[in-house]
């Protein structure tokens, strides 16, 4: 489903953020990436989504290498890939329903209108994340957890096969964080999405991941099934990062 091979990212200032990174995420699998600050986790997701252009490497989404595409071909090929961000990244002045739709056509929707078909779709997506009653509110009025749920609804609107999540619960309280992770787990198990999720909360990784990848200085420190992940390896990951 998603396969990354030899992914390397060197920033213009010379910092090597990712070095020869290999990773595979299968359909229905939830892979959590752990690592200290500045270890390259977010760079990994931004390179895979091609919001950053990697220095080298291949990003295979189904049968297409995103790494070699640009412009309209990249846009078309990337459609099965959705991403949720640390902050929900909704356009704050638009309605929740508009936020849940994400991509839509037409001048009418640009002016704030929602034709019947789009309204139905928005309602369905928001229902899937339990927020249908808030459809008419402005995105700016939502709590952090609600906004993140709308962001997930927006990702679902793409009918994706791969979901990237960059610290989706970083700014949420433990209950809301658990809630969001349960939803993400559900999408992997029942919707058969390949999910690659960056987290800082080790306990959430133990609770929800199928596989855990440790990343240090842009390189893979470990890549193990959750059941086979010693606490020491994780502790070591953060100790090294702090040093």
């Amino acid at each position: 489903m998603l396969r990354v091979h030899g992914l390397t990212m060197r920033y213009p200032d010379g910092k090597l953020a990712l070095a020869d990174f290999d990773l595979t995420v299968a359909a229905g699998e939830l892979v959590v990436v752990l690592g200290g600050n500045g270890s390259g986790k977010t760079t990994l997701l931004r390179c895979i989504s091609r919001t950053l252009s990697p220095t080298a490497g291949e990003i295979w989404l189904n049968e297409a290498n995103l790494g070699s595409l640009s412009g309209e071909r990249l846009r078309q090929t990337r459609l099965p890939l959705a991403m949720i961000w640390q902050h929900a990244s909704l356009v704050r002045r638009r309605s929740v329903a508009s936020g849940a739709l994400g991509r839509y056509d037409g001048l009418w929707t640009a002016l704030g209108g929602l034709p019947a078909v789009e309204r139905r779709a928005a309602y369905d997506h928001l229902s899937a994340v339990g927020l249908a009653t808030l459809a008419g509110q402005r995105a700016a009025t939502l709590s952090g957890g609600q906004a993140q749920r709308v962001a997930i609804a927006r990702a679902l609107a793409q009918q994706p096969q791969v979901l990237l999540a960059d610290e989706p619960v970083a700014s949420l309280d433990p209950e809301a964080a658990d809630d969001i992770m349960r939803l993400v787990r559900h999408l992997a198990t029942y919707e058969r999405l390949a999910v690659l999720c960056v987290l800082h909360q080790v306990e959430l990784a133990y609770a929800y991941a199928d596989r855990v990848v440790g990343i240090r200085d842009g390189r893979i420190a470990f890549d193990r099934p959750r059941a086979d992940l010693p606490r020491d390896a994780v502790r070591q990951l953060y100790l090294t990062a702090a040093a």
Partner: protein, 253 residues
């Protein structure tokens, strides 16, 4: 607890840090010198304001009450002035918005277009509206239309610059998120960029409208329409009551 160990450098070396106290003092003196030379060149004599207060009071006294009998002569040029500003502002916004997108470094599709757009915006701003008005009077003749065109083109300079800066300072996370949903460039613009910056754009446009009303007055002096011509005539003929009425009808907007 104190220590004799050397205190490590706590701040990054920066431009401000590199400038010693002496250099900063010299810079302050240079700025002061620039202001003083400006005061000399403009013959600044604040004391004249006190000695000449009677003259000012006399003009104000002669301008009151305003000559409302001129209303039949003034209402049309007054409306023309407002419409000049409306046309100039709306025309300016329509032309400035696409230029601003090209001139904003975070959304421009090409570096060449960025420099080209910045060049056009800079040129529109550098040429005074009076010069634009003279150019357009030559092209389309006397009347309000050349004035409206002049205001539109000159507005591009300020609106384009401020719109571009607003776009550059906007939060790009929602825009990146929208792009990743597969939105096309136009959709990102209509559904992401515009809603995010709309309040700022409206504020800037309203400020420009206000500026354009003031500018339209001066444009009237060169025959480009509006109440400026009436105001100039009243001033030339020392008809201060008429002048007061004209300026009242202008400033009430």
């Amino acid at each position: 607890m104190s220590s004799d160990a050397a205190v490590p450098r706590l701040v990054e070396r920066s431009w401000a840090g590199a400038c010693g106290l002496g250099l900063r003092l010299v810079l302050a003196l240079v700025l002061l010198a620039i202001f003083v030379q400006a005061a000399i060149v403009v013959h600044a004599r604040p004391q004249d304001l006190i000695t000449g207060a009677r003259g000012m009071a006399d003009i104000i006294r002669r301008a009151v009450p305003p000559d409302f009998g001129k209303i039949d002569m003034v209402w049309w040029p007054a409306l023309e002035t407002i419409d000049l500003a409306i046309f100039g502002t709306v025309g300016g916004v329509i032309m400035a918005l696409p230029l601003a997108i090209l001139a904003a470094v975070n959304v421009t599709p090409s570096r060449y277009l960025y420099y080209a757009a910045r060049g056009v915006i800079g040129f529109a701003r550098a040429v005074p509206d009076l010069v634009w008005a003279l150019l357009f009077v030559t092209a389309v003749g006397l009347g309000p239309f050349p004035g409206a065109l002049a205001l539109s083109v000159h507005s591009i300079g300020m609106l384009g610059r401020l719109f571009a800066e607003t776009i550059e300072h906007m939060d790009m996370a929602p825009i990146d998120a929208l792009t990743l949903t597969g939105a096309r460039r136009v959709q990102v613009f209509t559904h992401g960029i515009i809603p995010s910056i709309l309040p700022s754009l409206l504020g800037i446009a309203l400020y420009r409208f206000d500026e354009n009303i003031r500018s339209s007055l001066v444009l009237g002096f060169v025959g480009a329409g509006g109440i400026g011509f009436e105001l100039l005539s009243a001033m030339s003929l020392f008809q201060y009551n008429s002048f007061r009425f004209c300026s009242l009808s202008h400033s009430s907007w």
